[in-house]
Symmetry: C2
Subunit: 447 residues, 2 copies
């Protein structure tokens, strides 16, 4: 693919990293973005959950030599801090000591990646251009230029669609024969709220945790920002008795929050304004197959696998697409069609697996994170894993701290769950969980 | 909805019947079709499997007083005739005596329905108009007029999208929040072939059967036409060792057919020409939810639930949409929004159920229809059902000869399968299937 002319549609995080990595291979890269240059725009809040970068994301950034710079502007979160209705806290480490996920600002990360890409002479950003259609016979993209209101036409050897969950590039592939596609919404949506920084610039809760208020049918979470604030997100039913629809007056909102999240309300001075002025967003899972069209188009990131945010892997999986693509690129040098086919074939099951894992994790976070059986289960797993790290890596660690394929992690997680189901059936497991017989039981089951 | 101005997008079978039934309620109905008037066009073959109309379809046609006229131009098929590789025949009745599915020409049925609709003063057909977009805020449809090449804009109180599996109306809804959608292709496609009429105008095989050549990974079927011919359809892998892709020379095609369908080849004088000139079509399952957008748009037929053709229920389920809609219309008179919501809520699970049933039936037809265990299972079921019709209606009969909701039929079918699994485990069931103990066993399990 060297010396080729390629397009990346979408100047988001995955698109911009892809542009850098393609440029490093010597390609001429045009990056198209339907919005204006976000580096010149005012900050737009209220829609985007904080990102939690973890190992897969950092590995991809390291291909661009960029992981350290990002780690410096992010905040490590070493575990979940659960808040119950009485304000009692329960802490659960994510992994081993020093293993953390990293809270980072989507906007800041995106700007930095765009600046990095802009430094390459062979990368050109073209903003205000919305992809309208692609003529696949000649790989010609039609753009609508929102400044001139005219149409523009560009042809490329390859087109990378990194244009998000509502991808226009994918919309074109959707009309080709044998393209499987699904979009599935949760009955829950989300809304961003905020805990501002304390007067002295510090955080109102421990900044090195991801905070969760699990409440069964719904939950609230908070991720720290560098400026002392937290970005807070309420995941909540769209409709029904207790829902975004039903909380329709200031009084109802305050009442509900005071009853449900009493330890958080004192830190939410603009709760009511935020609740009514910030948009309610939906949560969609997108799957498709194949991710490529011949040797012409490849989908990446949310465009091919949009997942709900509950495993913190949406961006990480999109960035990992880049890692995997360039690993395979080396093997398939010169044969773009074989490369595209092989990448899609390998990566589709991983996209589906992280989609499933993320949907499952919503139940875990909102429903189980406060549950005694669940916490004991995690404790036993952790103990066994510490004793026999070669025999047991917890599912969360496989997904978050390893580079094991998501599909393999999912399969391993299913095997582990069955084993732990048996362990939790043992007599007096809550009293005797620390006994050697529990370890022996697991040993007998894993082997 | 009386006195309202409504649009039906798509002048196919479901669209045209819907137009008649809406017109009967006094509405002004515009029917839009992207193709020219098929009554003025030459016959277009090679793409559309013969239709098998059954009870659900006839019930809907009877709402338009049209069932008898259609029955007169159709051929009843009372059972499946299976052809094995040696040319041996096995017959399996579809239901009780006189119960049949009816082979009918799609084109003829469509023309008759269009003529019927045209007789209403308040129905107007507008051909050569492809739906391009809908502005949902004012329910205004943009059409591309293929004669003038200009755009046309029409607004309606309600819009019914009956524009098929690749529905443009559904494409608009797909972009609205919380619209769940999936399209899933089988790895198999199909191609139409033909057995012409005998010289004396008779059929080369029994015309009152649906003929099947089940061959495990694939199959061929034939449905009779009034003129003495059969329309033959080969369902076959798209790619792979034995596939549409691999049969790429005349010799390979003839070789394959001679080996695989030896009793059929003598009746296929144009086999090779047909094989290479007729298109290979794909088999898609489409599901979505909801089927409505507020009180503005409603999807019907393949637009909301395209299914694979193996249960012969694609058209029947689409026509049943009309039956169910007008049953509910009476209950919700005056409240279109409530009507649309209730219809979608009731009908979505039925659309999903017939999609699942049709996918399952492909396995049954191509794989099991020649299997001894399977045939015995059907024989025992039939015997029990004849003895205790109130306790057991075979799944096929529920789907084909009843008006039981598809979702209930699917659930009942799953219960029945579990019972028959137990029955088939009985000792020497192949020798003793006719014993009273088998009946007693089933009686003990159904109650």
């Amino acid at each position: 693919m060297g010396n080729k002319k390629v397009a990346v549609v979408g100047a988001g995080l995955v698109g911009s990293l892809m542009a850098v990595l393609l440029a490093k291979k010597g390609m001429q890269v045009d990056v198209f973005e339907r919005r204006p240059d976000l580096r010149k725009a005012k900050a737009i809040g209220g829609r985007s959950i904080n990102l939690a970068l973890s190992n897969r994301g950092f590995k991809a950034l390291s291909l661009a030599g960029f992981d350290k710079e990002i780690r410096d502007v992010s905040i490590p979160m070493y575990g979940r801090q659960m808040h119950d209705v009485e304000g009692n806290l329960t802490y659960q480490a994510y992994g081993k000591e020093k293993e953390a996920i990293y809270s980072v600002s989507r906007g800041q990360l995106n700007q930095k990646l765009m600046n990095l890409a802009d430094d390459y002479e062979n990368v050109k950003y073209r903003f205000d251009r919305a992809c309208e259609d692609i003529d696949l016979s000649k790989n010609e993209i039609t753009f609508n230029n929102s400044s001139t209101h005219g149409k523009e036409y560009f042809s490329y050897d390859q087109i990378f669609g990194a244009d998000g969950a509502f991808s226009a590039v994918r919309g074109v592939l959707q009309k080709t024969p044998m393209f499987n596609y699904s979009q599935e919404y949760l009955p829950h949506g989300y809304k961003e709220l905020s805990f501002p920084a304390n007067a002295d610039g510090t955080h109102c809760f421990d900044k090195n945790c991801l905070h969760i208020w699990p409440r069964g049918e719904f939950m609230m979470i908070a991720l720290p920002n560098l400026d002392g604030s937290f970005t807070v997100t309420l995941f909540f039913p769209m409709k029904g008795e207790i829902s975004f629809e039903s909380l329709d007056t200031e009084e109802k909102v305050l009442d509900f929050f005071n009853k449900t999240f009493p330890d958080a309300v004192p830190y939410m001075p603009t709760l009511v304004e935020d609740f009514f002025s910030n948009p309610t967003s939906t949560l969609v899972t997108v799957r498709c197959s194949p991710w490529n069209y011949e040797d012409k188009v490849m989908l990446l990131g949310d465009a091919s696998h949009a997942v709900v945010p509950f495993y913190g892997q949406g961006l990480n999986s999109g960035l990992e697409d880049c890692t995997v693509f360039f690993e395979m690129y080396e093997k398939h040098k010169g044969n773009v069609h074989a490369l595209f086919e092989a990448f899609s074939e390998q990566r589709v099951p991983d996209g589906n697996a992280i989609a499933d894992l993320a949907l499952y994790n919503y139940i875990e976070m909102r429903d189980l994170a406060g549950d005694k059986d669940f916490l004991l289960r995690k404790k036993i797993e952790r103990k066994f894993s510490d004793l026999y790290p070669d025999k047991w890596m917890p599912l969360y660690s496989q997904v978050t701290f390893s580079h094991i394929r998501y599909s393999e992690a999912l399969a391993a997680g299913n095997r582990q769950r069955k084993i732990m189901d048996e362990v939790m059936e043992m007599d007096s497991i809550h009293d005797q969980w620390d006994d050697q017989k529990v370890i022996d039981k697991i040993l007998s089951l894993v082997e």
